[in-house]
Symmetry: C2
Subunit: 190 residues, 2 copies
Amino acid sequence: MSEQRPRIDIALVHHPVLNKNGETIGSAVTNLDLHDIARAARTFGVENYYVITPYTDQQEMVSEIVDHWQTGHGATRNPARKEALELVRISPSLGETIEIISQQRGERPLILTTSAKVQDNTLNYGSARDLIAAGRPVLLLFGTAHGLAPEISTLADHSLPPINGSTNYNHLSVRSAVSIILDRLLAVQN
Amino acid sequence: MSEQRPRIDIALVHHPVLNKNGETIGSAVTNLDLHDIARAARTFGVENYYVITPYTDQQEMVSEIVDHWQTGHGATRNPARKEALELVRISPSLGETIEIISQQRGERPLILTTSAKVQDNTLNYGSARDLIAAGRPVLLLFGTAHGLAPEISTLADHSLPPINGSTNYNHLSVRSAVSIILDRLLAVQN
């Protein structure tokens, strides 16, 4: 890891994702995805955690939850949670998210998808770790429901390999997958 | 990783653990700890996931949740979840858990604690990985609430180092911590 702070953002995509029949849908935001993933993001030095949903009722729900922990009762009761949920940004689409990040970073980030299945155009974890350490802005995409819809790949540069736990079981929660992948890319190794 | 299956079990301890004031308490079991941790355990080839609580009402709740996914409506709706929750075992205490494992394995397992803070008698991840790969039975202990009570260490052999994400923030969810530690100890590296 270089001395500069990693220029990394993550996005949890609620649309377009797949349902169990492989159809493209929008999924509902869940409270625990906000908390667990914000805590992991904060641990590993992620700068922004984008929650992508086009639905205004879902955007409002996210905003209310975050507000509770930023300025409400939660902020005084649990300052560590406040510090984590500060990273949450609400965004209506992946396209808009990429635009915002490109403006902030002064260049388009390297966009990496994640999946429980092997995808084309894979970048291994070691190479991705090296690019981040070298200061390349990176946006990591995670899917809810049964994963990112294939159309997402037209906006992405590479895919990270599935997490291979030496079994044929590939049904980690997205909370677990985010935690493991951030650890692989950003942890101080010990 | 050797060709033999790793001889590894995990335990999520609900008593004795610490509250935010550092007092020893018993915590409540949460549904999502059962699901997320069982899915991670199944992914990485863990054999048994012990949920340790001395409270019979909590034991009954765990049993009902697991039954729903084993034989109830959940089993047919989501076979992958059934396969994960099959690993859950209910146990009243760490002492009893160690006895059961010792009988099953034919020897006392190496008992490793985990913590968000540096502990005495640390074993690094590489060494723990090598011991597991060599076939040593291992029991990993995870604490709920504000972590394992110090008295647990009298039963343990070593502690794994805290997960260091290059920030000073050490408030991962236990679900994230389990996922990351299993990945470090058991993943096929890619």
